[in-house]
Amino acid sequence: MRTAYRTVAAGVLLALALMAAQPAAAQTAEARAQNVLHTWYRLTLELVRHTPTYSPPVASRSFAYLGVTAFEVAASGRPELVSLAGQLNGFDTGLPEREAGAAYDEAVALQAAMATGIKTLFGNTGPTGQRAIEAIAAKLQASAAVGVDADVVARSEAYGRAVAEHVLAWSADDGGAVVENMGFPFKYELKPGPEHWVPTSLIGQQQVPLLPAWGSNRTFAIPNGASCGLPPPPAYSEDEGSRFYKEALEVYEVSKTLTPEQEAIARFWSDDPMLTPTPPGHWLSITMQILEQQEAPLDRRVEVLARLGIGLADAFIGCWYDKFKYDLVRPVTYIQRHIDPKWQAILITPPFPEYPSGHSTQSGAAAEVLTDAFGENFAFDDLTHQEDGLPPRRFASFWDAADEAGISRLYGGIHYRAAIELGLEQGKCIAAYTNALVTRRVQ
């Protein structure tokens, strides 16, 4: 199956050749559609940052559904693309079809689909987000329809909306559709024992862990949350000779000798919810930067974004499954108990169990999906946090970035080494299912 996706390069060339052969109006439609997709994704990253329920797992879920939505709208009009219907869990029948022989405008359809999806998935965002959604929808609706016949506009809009509504209906019963109290359960019983997670925050809401049931959500490409289950973390021990103690001591000692570069790495990948687009949003941002830089055609964009979204969403479900299976204590708790009572991590310790590292799992998955899409040793600059005052970082490959994202959690004092290394492996395992999806016909 991996081979099928590898035909993308040939597909892109073919698409470019077709575009070149098409009349000017069609090329304009392509440009209009690209603008629609990019603008909505750009807004999505802002909405993730500014919608209070959008913790990283929740963000990854929306990225997946939006990606599938955009992909299916485009795929239905392009013979080279293969629908994901029948390939994703629960996404089997009923996908709206285009009317045979009727004309559609891809930009208009995509605009209607994205607007519908985003208005629902971010229906709970604040008044500024709502205002932005309406403003962007109005502008894109107008610009997408420029030069398009009214009947085509109407048909395309109806089709785009229908696809989005179909995807939204599919999403409704996956277990992640309703997020109350920003993801913190109203009731939760902490597991007894020194090895288990305890609250690390002085915020009242965070005295229980975030989204403890997320690991049982319906997955996209992997069979279920346990499909890439990890072995247990190093056995909990307070013995100074134990591996567990040594891993905690490593976190502590690294923090005491942290170099400016290590601190910069920790902060670059901190990706705190409500303050950044979150870790999955960081990878989405990287991907958007690359697609823009490459001036990638629409089919390429929707394909990559859909696959990335699916990989990220599955990564969070798989990771969360193991987080609550093992329910491991965070470094800040262990270190303060057994090494240095006054120690503090430089990053905010996330309010949920330690093992595996969520950023590592999802970064491993993202790196694997993007390597499959763009190739090994694909070097890139990451400008995700430039507006927040963090300078760009350059990476030699997606795995170079993922490895750095992983180790950033140790530098930041919020994860032990095992959670990082095995998290990255878990991501790789999960991404294999995404990479096996067939989204393009073999030429």
């Binding site: 919608t51 109203f186 507006e387």
Partner: protein, 534 residues
Amino acid sequence: MTLLRQTLLPALALLATTTAANAQDMAVAIPEFIEETATSGISTVYEGEWEFMVGGGVAVFDCDSDGYADMLLSGGSSPAGFYRNASERGGALRFEKQQSGLELDNVAGTYPLDIDSDGTADLVLLRVGENVVMRGLGECRFERANEAWGFDGGDAWSTALAATFEDGASWPTIAVGNYIDRREEGFPWGSCTDNWLHRSAGSTFAPPVALTPSYCALSMLFTDWNRSGTPSLRVSNDREYYKGGGEQMWRVEAGREPSLYSKEDGWRHLRIWGMGIAGYDLNFDGYQEYFLTSMADNKLQSLAEVPADGVPRPAYADVAYARGVTAHRPYIGDNVKPSTAWHAQFEDINNDGLADLFVAKGNVAEMPDFAIEDPNNLLLQRADGSFEEVGHEAGVGSTAIGRGAAIADFNLDGLLDLVVVNRWRPAQLWRNVSTDAANWIAVRPGQTGINRDAIGGWVEVRRGEQIMRREITVGGGHASGQLGWLHFGLGSSEAAEFRVVWPDGEAGDWQSVPANAFYAMERGKQAREWRPER
């Protein structure tokens, strides 16, 4: 739970030592309020849509020199409403709406300040659009003074204000906090516009200086946090809109450019949905604690360390959880979604000698992830320094989408009353009718010349070994300001000693006075008991 225990222990130890002198009964006297909105004559609604989702302030000040606090309520997209206090001492709260010249539209916040030091309160109106300074003419009449005073009102979405009188200046310095670029529709995030510092240029204002970087301030407060004699400017910023920002504190020293406190100075990076600031020396150590309102969480900051040399670094520990003032979700009803907090104010509501905390609550609009029915908090301080929620029992737990507020003794009976501005609903007014409140005094410092209201000074009240201190400020809260009597509870004490530490640092003599009276404290004179004429 080791982490929690270890974090809390220092705070609790501090509480144990600082409040030992006052450690009596842990039970708090719950005040009793009755709402008198309907009969009081107050009817202003803070109206408007997106551009008025923040703001909604009230100014409380005495503009007819009768000692009773009058008020101006922001109207948002509708005109502001001025109300003259017609209450009688100890009686029901009555206000008469009258034309004052302050009835401008697009007013989001309002702060009284005697700008020209003529003994008559002026006002600064923060607006969506041009800010306006209004000169008090006496008898509650006002006129626009932007041109006369060289005040550049700009064109922004102004949401915060703080004022001080810098050393040697004959005119106040006013900091104005501005919000996002309201003309940005699709991508307003990251569009925080510059805050301004309007400094003195003789008897007029100099062109405003941009306080960059600016991060969408929703509250500002000039406060002498380290007792250096020179207040710094705390700015609480809304993380919803800034990029790369955080909470800020500026050094503002006469004759120098403002500069930010940095990590090297000890200032700690904190990013919250900052909406309101309240300061009070809760633990009697001479340094103020600061309560910062936010969403789903609130902060109570106490200096992490007060070194022996008395020169602290601006590093604060969050003791909100330890003291029971996170106030992060509604305390009544079955709605457990997180709260949204706006105006905060410390006052001794039950006169027991310990400052209590009022927090106005209300959804930003109709955000479904936050409590829609979000009651205001009234948190009474216990003898051990922790707080107890009594908003519902006291009768002020309104869920009417609160914003700004003011606590003042509107009927001069020694019991603090409350007004809260609500979004889309009429402002509410409550009279404190407690029958078991303890003793009190109220003090109004005054000096001749510049800065008649002694902004930047302190009032200290001594009871035994304990000295209660409060700073005289203009700013903080949420879009709301006050000038007037400063209230102190005395517990069972029948008398008190108080003094004023004037803005230039000179400490006045201790004044021994009987409880339960108002005292005018003119600089260089003995305290004079003041009695209302009605």
